[in-house]
Symmetry: C2
Subunit: 476 residues, 2 copies
């Protein structure tokens, strides 16, 4: 019935072989799991010592993929939650009563680096060897409807997944899906992005049973699909649903369906271990020139300590506003993309065919039958020697050819500069591809991103990269 589904049946053995091989490579080794649990025990012990005088009931709890057994070899993070039965935990309170004390106490872990971070809550990040541990204070809710902030939900997620994903077979499927999705969810911008997109993968395996079945379904998602994860269990497991009302999940934006479809059509291991490809800035500049496109890079400073959610939200709002403003000045933006190191620098890239319009434009007036309006229009332009007309067209409206207020994009940008800032991002410069400063030029992540913006292809479609390089770039 559907082209690529037929294809899948023909490809079954190929898909199966690829999957089998990758599964084994993703399963964590016994050694690394032991090492992670050792670290957890040590941190837990330190926390309990540091908080021995705390006047509220609390517990230290391992959450996330390690607790659920769904973490991937060589990529193990610890989510250590301090669940506290105290309803008035504002950020100040958390820093003074929890984080300050723990941070101090954690100094005894030799070779570990501990930094304070901010999402919707302040929390600590501890890096030790190749392990990373997030230490997150949260409100200890006994029921899901008692939670105070989003992070308080995590223990319920862990509990739910552990109750539904119980075999190593299922865990293999989760890991496949996580690895496959990893390159994509770069803009998750949820608190602890990785955690959420991991949870999403687990819910999908609960819902669809296997990696392949998930791909089949995801590839036909429409935007704003509602995936009800637990529809099968509604009848016989009512209590579980009451405990976990998050289980019916709304997935607002589909995972790029091109990737899943392409994998089902041509399964290779590269989909799990994608190569990132980038072109040199000079080559990208040539591509823009040859395809007669212009690019403007709006460079932003980020207010220090801004959380990723806030940052991406503001950037997206500013970019949308800008595209709409430019439209009113007749500048059509082909595409805009966002980039940030999430610390100090953010960029809005605008891509257009023209950054300069003709000095004059056609301007539609009212219908001639609307007496007062058309008289006003007429009198205005008949006294303006810089306009041509007014004349009227067969559709019964008056028209005039008149001067544009701004014919250069850069003039519009300067004119609306005040509207291009937000609370946590400040516009500092407007660059073109020719004027990208050294520091950015040498930023590998920026380069990957810029390549993707200009070629308009995600890196996993790298098959098209090589021929494009031959067609457009002189320096290779």
């Amino acid at each position: 019935m559907i082209d690529f589904m037929t294809n899948l049946d023909m490809n079954y053995e190929k898909v199966y072989n690829v999957i089998k091989e990758v599964k084994e490579e993703l399963r964590p080794t016994k050694e690394e799991l032991e090492k992670a649990y050792e670290l957890y025990d040590r941190i837990k012990e330190i926390i309990q010592r540091a908080l021995k005088d705390l006047n509220y009931e609390y517990k230290v709890s391992l959450e996330g993929s390690l607790a659920k057994g769904t973490c991937i070899r060589g990529d193990i993070d610890l989510d250590i939650f301090i669940l506290i039965k105290h309803g008035k935990m504002d950020n100040k309170w958390i820093e003074v009563n929890i984080l300050g004390k723990i941070q101090n106490a954690l100094r005894e872990v030799e070779g570990a680096e501990v930094v304070k971070k901010y999402a919707s809550h302040p929390y600590l990040e501890l890096i030790y060897d190749d392990l990373r541990a997030d230490i997150v204070p949260a409100y200890w809710a006994s029921k899901i409807n008692e939670i105070k902030t989003a992070v308080d939900r995590t223990p319920f997620h862990t509990m739910y997944v552990k109750s539904r994903i119980t075999s190593e077979v299922q865990r293999d499927e989760v890991r496949l899906l996580k690895k496959f999705f990893k390159g994509i969810n770069v803009y998750g911008a949820e608190i602890k992005v990785e955690g959420f997109s991991g949870y999403l993968c687990e819910l999908l395996i609960i819902k669809y049973g296997s990696f392949i079945n998930t791909l089949k379904n995801v590839s036909i998602w429409r935007p704003h699909t509602v995936v009800v994860v637990d529809d099968e269990v509604k009848i016989d497991e009512k209590n579980i649903l009451k405990l976990f009302p998050d289980a019916p999940l709304i997935v607002p934006d589909p995972v790029d369906p091109r990737r899943t479809r392409t994998f089902l059509r041509e399964p290779t291991k590269e989909f799990f271990y994608p190569k990132r490809v980038s072109f040199s800035i000079n080559c990208l500049r040539d591509i823009l020139r040859l395809s007669e496109r212009r690019m403007y890079l709006l460079l932003y400073d980020i207010v220090s300590g801004t959380s990723p959610d806030v940052l991406w939200g503001e950037l997206r709002r500013v970019a949308n506003r800008l595209v709409n403003i430019l439209k009113t000045f007749d500048f059509e933006v082909i595409d805009y993309r966002l980039w940030s190191d999430e610390v100090s620098t953010a960029i809005i890239a605008l891509e257009l065919f023209n950054d300069e319009l003709p000095k004059y434009k056609i301007h539609e007036g009212p219908p001639i039958a609307k007496l007062l309006n058309s008289d006003k229009f007429f009198n205005k332009y008949i006294n303006d020697v810089y306009s041509f007309g007014p004349w009227f067209k067969e559709n019964g409206r008056i028209y005039v050819v008149r001067r544009r207020k701004f014919s250069k994009l850069i003039d519009v940008l300067n004119h609306v500069r005040g509207q291009l800032n937000a609370k946590h991002v400040r516009l500092t410069d407007v660059l073109t591809i020719e004027s990208i400063p050294h520091k950015l030029r040498n930023n590998k992540e920026f380069n990957y991103w810029l390549t993707e913006v200009i070629l308009k292809l995600p890196f996993w479609l790298s098959s098209k990269y090589e021929p494009m390089l031959r067609v457009f770039c002189r320096d290779k």
Copy 2:
């Protein structure tokens, strides 16, 4: 209530004075009327002699403005109809049995020039001193529903107007209106344009009573207004309406309302005696350049003997088709205008801001949710190294940046050349303002028209011409 109506009341004396003066200037002199009637008598006598052997009942009849008493001083035309009771008058028959004989006989009028002309019928034009006489054979219908072609209707028009316009006071109002409208109805393209637009003026005076009242009403017309001329007489004069079913008149396109409104606001004699203004071609070229507009002039040969109705109809159809074709190739035409000498040469002028587009364009694909379509789109462009993408936007559709088929207007014109001809007009050349040939450059009518096209102002708005000349042109 309405701005310019209030204005009119304030201007009443001014308007009245202008009108009074112009009325006297428009009334024909006794001498020129006598001279015209003498010519009519002489031609009638010659026709009757030439047709003495005609086997069908016929009469020679004076029609048109001279018969109705609505002609204007210094501008008297004779409409002499030969009404024949013979149903099978094809063009061949008319030429052999009527026009041939009369043309021969008319040689006895010394100093007169007689030429055969074609509208929907062949007819003769005789020029003698400053008088012109059209000699038109037509079918002699006793009732309006017996007419065979449009010309046969004229005697009924004459009869109707004579029955309704009976005083010199009314005739003054008709003459004012005719003179006021004259500059506008250049595209009447009816058989004997002048006759029709004269008849239109007469009907309007019958309907609205006076020149001023007509202007007031015309200035608020919408396109496709239906003016029922004789609605007042429906009840008590049923018989007249049966005789003259043309009396309820449909006026498909409004007279330019800007002119009437401007006159009512600032009445001057110049509205009746407009100066035509033209700029030099070099100056017009500068104006186009400075306002960053491009102009293409499609030059046409007209098949000899083509009637104006057919010519203008075909030109308009070709121009509309062309504008639509250009739109599909993303070329937006600001305005197009038609010109012709109605004999050998016609022109379609296209005005655009750009005659060259970027080599690439954004191309919208299907919604990602339409599996088969979006897969097809995806596979097509993923294998095309000259396209960028496909990527998908927040609206759920796939997009690609791809090469245009044509980026130059001239290439599109060459590509669709076959569709730019019609039966009676053949495209011979595509000119720009720089390449207008000498013959056209020196054609005064063409120059008036081109000035109007580029300034986008009718000549009666010449108040704006002088300042524009100062702003845009170097050579004056």
